[in-house]
Symmetry: C4
Subunit: 192 residues, 4 copies
């Protein structure tokens, strides 16, 4: 089994997720500038989620580049990741409608955390399949970003009940942490 079809399918699902989030940006009811006001929090949460889904697509792209084969367990670990990514549109929309509420912000963090765990699991399974000489293992190294992110999401979930805005700022901070392109895999690929 090679990786081409798992890449194509993941691309399809991620492309759809990133695009249907925009469906939630409903057309304003009026035709003047004030009609745009209620869209602002929805637009912000769309931007944050677009950034997150873009980061996942980018890293997924790099990760699958280190392997040529997939097993049944990798297919399922990948579907698990896609499942949690498919939860982004609904929590994005919920936060966009209630930007100052605790529960939606905490739920957003829970989905972020479960997607991060699913990504980590997929990474584990590819490393396990590649064995001792795993290219991905060397590329990932200590993986401090992968380890610190779930902790920051957990912090964000707690903080949401005290200050949803701070929690959202924390999610944005984690996104920016990842936004800086991860050269580890590119470097490892160059080294062979």
């Amino acid at each position: 089994m090679n990786t081409s079809r798992i890449e194509a399918f993941s691309d399809g699902v991620i492309a759809i997720i990133i695009t249907i989030m925009v469906l939630e940006l409903k057309v304003p009811h009026g035709a003047d500038l004030t009609a745009l006001m209620p869209l602002i929090p929805k637009f912000m949460s769309y931007v944050l989620s677009f950034l997150y889904v873009g980061i996942y697509w980018n890293n997924h792209h790099h990760m699958l580049h280190t392997t040529r084969q997939v097993t049944g367990s990798i297919l399922w670990a990948n579907l698990n990741l896609l499942f949690w990514l498919s939860m982004f549109p609904i929590v994005t929309d919920w936060v966009g409608e209630n930007p100052a509420a605790s529960v939606p912000t905490a739920c957003y963090g829970i989905v972020l955390m479960l997607a991060a765990v699913a990504y980590w699991l997929l990474q584990r399974m590819i490393i396990a399949m590649q064995g001792a000489q795993s290219l991905l293992k060397r590329a990932v190294g200590h993986d401090w970003k992968g380890k610190i992110s779930p902790a920051l999401y957990a912090l964000g979930i707690g903080v949401a009940f005290w200050s949803p805005r701070s929690s959202q700022a924390l999610y944005l901070f984690v996104a920016l942490l990842w936004f800086i392109p991860d050269r580890r895999i590119e470097n490892a690929l160059v080294k062979g």
Copy 2:
């Protein structure tokens, strides 16, 4: 005619089906935990359908791997399978809105059964094209899962009129039966 475009098109359709199901998970009307309650049955039926569509994608992926050519009849058998898979979002949503009702649960079973029959037909046509030396035929073997599933769906359709919950448990049981990755095709491919 090679298989690459039928794979790409099927991937596209399945990726969309798996993703639009999430559109039915409408954003809660409130912003607290109780607002999530009515979403629970919808979430459960989404999980079950995601599992089913994932299983179909996985097996479809494996099945098309055994062949390099497609005929006109295979294209239509594939479109027939995609048609029944495209019915998943509506029955999923209907069961999610009426988890304790008999007719939606029975309809869900009917769609599951017709998709299973469509899958079996597609398998038949690929085997027929491959002839006596069919790699897929050897891979599938006695195909007890393929034979028992429609019977269990039929049982589930009947049980739905007596206890919708038991029927839903039965559908979940069949999904788990298939969830365990099917090594038959992988093994047959290795053997040649």
Copy 3:
């Protein structure tokens, strides 16, 4: 410019068109069998449109198989075809809601006719690019189906104002005409 990306993009658009039509099949309001009744005409129009989009995808697949290159005009002729195919969901839905009305049925026929004309134009442009030795030209031959279909659609548009049901039966008849796989291109490819 090779054909791979035009195929991939067309596959994507057609996959989405075929799938979003199902979004119009809204979940029934009740939970019993009578709740399914109003869905029947919508389901029928979905089946007819699925058949039509499936036929277009199949023939598009075959047609692009005869060529390796695309020009700017072919890209635009293809986008024109995709535009008219993208009109299918809305006319399908309109006929499904008003199965006994003349105007929706006539509009459905207009969209069918314009899609057929767009397909014919795309075919013309590929033949023109291939020149005197055009493989596609030989494959298509007299193209009686391609010539008779727009005439039958025009007839259907007229008949819709007298009997919408007869008009719909005529559209189904044309679909079945095309459904029988077209071996012309496969034969021409085998001959070289």
Copy 4:
């Protein structure tokens, strides 16, 4: 990193954008010709946006043809372009509902301008990566279309507050400017 997956992902997102715009063309409430009247401005804005998205896809297709490699920055510049293209459905719909209003028409122009800037940035980054011998740089040449378009969009945004119709005519004019297939890249590729 090669370009195949960035092409596949962009194709997926653009295919979805072009198709979900049609979802905004809601089915008419009546079944006669007068029921189609309110759809006319929506249909016109759909046609304009389909034309724009088609042009972007076409040019994107050509641009990525000049390169074999992508870097992390190119991936992000591409996601930025896709983000602005994903704004097309909502502004299209807003203009379609308020064809004679200034603010929606100006917003449409802002989205057109930001997408043009994003496209220009992506072009810059590919040229930078290709270095002094950049094939794309030679192909693009003086790029007068790329330079004049943002200026015309800016003019259109201003004009929208005086006459939305003139502004929309201007946007259509820019689209037609680009519609004439751009032979620069094809020529440069032929020359080597």
